[in-house]
Amino acid sequence: MKNSIKVERARNNITQAKLAEMTQVSRQTINAIELGKYVPSALLALRLAKIFDVAVEEIFQLEEGEV
């Protein structure tokens, strides 16, 4: 699963540390999600979507072969 958190962060001018604070997780977690090493829980995905004010599908997209 790919995601556009880095893009959304840049668009909203939010650092990893700030986003981690807003979502109540560690910066390691945000970094791991951005690098595609960790798929977040539904709760965290919804929180991220709410912070960036977009739908969850706009941030997280399935890759080919994952359907």
């Binding site: 997780v25 560690s26 910066r27 977690t29 970094n31 829980s41 709760l43």
Partner: protein, 170 residues
């Protein structure tokens, strides 16, 4: 989201303070696991009490060759206390919270547990063909705590790896 019930962070340091000296003692004198004298003590005083037991170590038989179960026995409790401390210490290390405890660290914890099961089994499998007879008792004794120790090392390594991987943001 974190559903794991974990111990406070300071428990890790308490666990390390308990486990490291015992590991060193066991390294220098493995016999203390089975009631040997600790290597550092010249004036060793056994902690002897009359304690209940399920079986006697004379292999469940008395002089009349009768099965002895549920007996009272005068026993040096030092090795039992050491093992209890070791079990508590490894538990404290393994199940204390890390600095940044969240859902990602929970996943790392789960992955580390899986890896620990595999590595512990691999070590046991190999030692099964390398250590024989009475010496295998040491392997069995080490297996009581090795799983949690292997888990703690793998988990600490994974956490460290991700911390190191953090790039400095502009």
């Amino acid at each position: 989201m974190n559903t794991l019930k974990l111990l406070p962070r300071w428990c890790r340091f308490l666990g390390l303070a308990v486990v490291i000296p015992i590991l060193l003692m066991c390294f220098f004198n493995p016999d203390i696991i089975f009631g040997g004298v600790p290597f550092f003590s010249a004036n060793y005083q056994p902690i002897e009490y009359n304690v209940p037991g399920i079986f006697d170590n004379s292999f469940q038989h008395n002089e009349n060759d009768e099965l002895q179960i549920f007996i009272w026995k005068n026993n040096d409790l030092s090795n039992e206390i050491l093992l209890a401390l070791m079990l508590i210490g490894t538990y404290l290390i393994a199940f204390a919270k890390v600095k940044s405890e969240d859902e990602f660290s929970s996943q790392l914890r789960l992955q580390s547990l899986t890896s620990a099961v595999i590595w512990n089994s691999v070590v046991l499998f190999i030692l099964n063909f390398l250590v024989y007879d009475g010496m295998f008792l040491y392997v069995m004794a080490s297996q009581l705590v090795s799983f949690l120790l292997i888990f703690s090392v793998i988990f600490a390594f994974k956490i460290r790896k991700f911390k190191k991987g953090l790039t400095h943001e502009k």
